[in-house]
């Protein structure tokens, strides 16, 4: 029950964040919203695991957290240097 309340709060926050991501006048607004959505998804996942009684899936939350920051930094690095380290060709093979 208490997890359901927290899930509702996180869901409402996610809705607001998606609104910002859709409205966002600049790319940075959207990126900020994407970062926030990542955090929200992690918390939602953890809370959902507790609510259904199987909280063993937090590894996925950890994965989300890492991917979240990797994605954000990749985009930002692109903005800063105009490339992703070595340039696009190498990245595509990965």
């Amino acid at each position: 029950m208490m997890f359901a309340a927290a899930i509702l709060a996180v869901l409402a926050a996610l809705i607001l964040t998606v609104v910002r991501a859709l409205k966002g006048p600049t790319v940075f607004d959207r990126l900020l919203a994407a970062n926030s959505i990542g955090t929200g998804a992690i918390l939602l996942l953890a809370l959902f695991g507790f609510m259904t009684g199987r909280p063993e899936f937090l590894d996925i939350g950890l994965l989300y957290a890492l991917l979240n920051v990797i994605g954000t930094l990749a985009v930002l690095k692109f903005f800063r240097y105009g490339s992703l380290g070595h340039g696009g060709e190498e990245e595509t093979e990965a």
Binding site: T52, G53, R54, F57, G88, E89, T92
Partner: protein, 122 residues
């Protein structure tokens, strides 16, 4: 209640079809190659959901056997979709490589400009 219950029961299918149709629309209507690929991704993910949603059982848990639980969701769609996701990223990579090649050949990734350039060559 009787009018709305089928709508609520099938809500996820409606969303899936909306995603699928918007993916189709993006692929058909937009000329930009990268946007077309994003549309393709939309279509793919809608198919993933279409497979996964009938396999869910209300009150079930993920199919990892544990003696505390009796009801599990159907594991078979998960396996199929796992394969599909990996194949999907492989096709995405191939498509992006093709886009790069096209960009190098024609200097653009817009479909119309590519067609125009092709006509000039003849």
């Amino acid at each position: 209640m009787t009018v709305f219950s089928p709508l609520i029961d099938h809500f996820n299918y409606f969303i899936i079809i909306f995603l699928m149709v918007s993916g189709l629309y993006v692929v058909v209507a937009r000329g930009n190659m990268i946007k077309k690929l994003v549309g393709l991704m939309l279509f793919q993910t809608s198919v993933y959901l279409l497979y996964l949603s009938p396999g869910k059982i209300l009150g079930g848990t993920p199919p990892i056997i544990d003696e505390n639980f009796q009801i599990y969701s159907n594991p078979l769609p998960h396996v199929l979709i796992l394969t599909a996701i990996v194949v999907g990223v492989a096709t995405l990579a191939l498509g992006l490589a093709l886009v790069l090649r096209i960009n190098e050949e024609y200097g653009t990734i817009e479909e119309d400009e590519i067609f125009a350039a092709g006509d000039e060559d003849k």
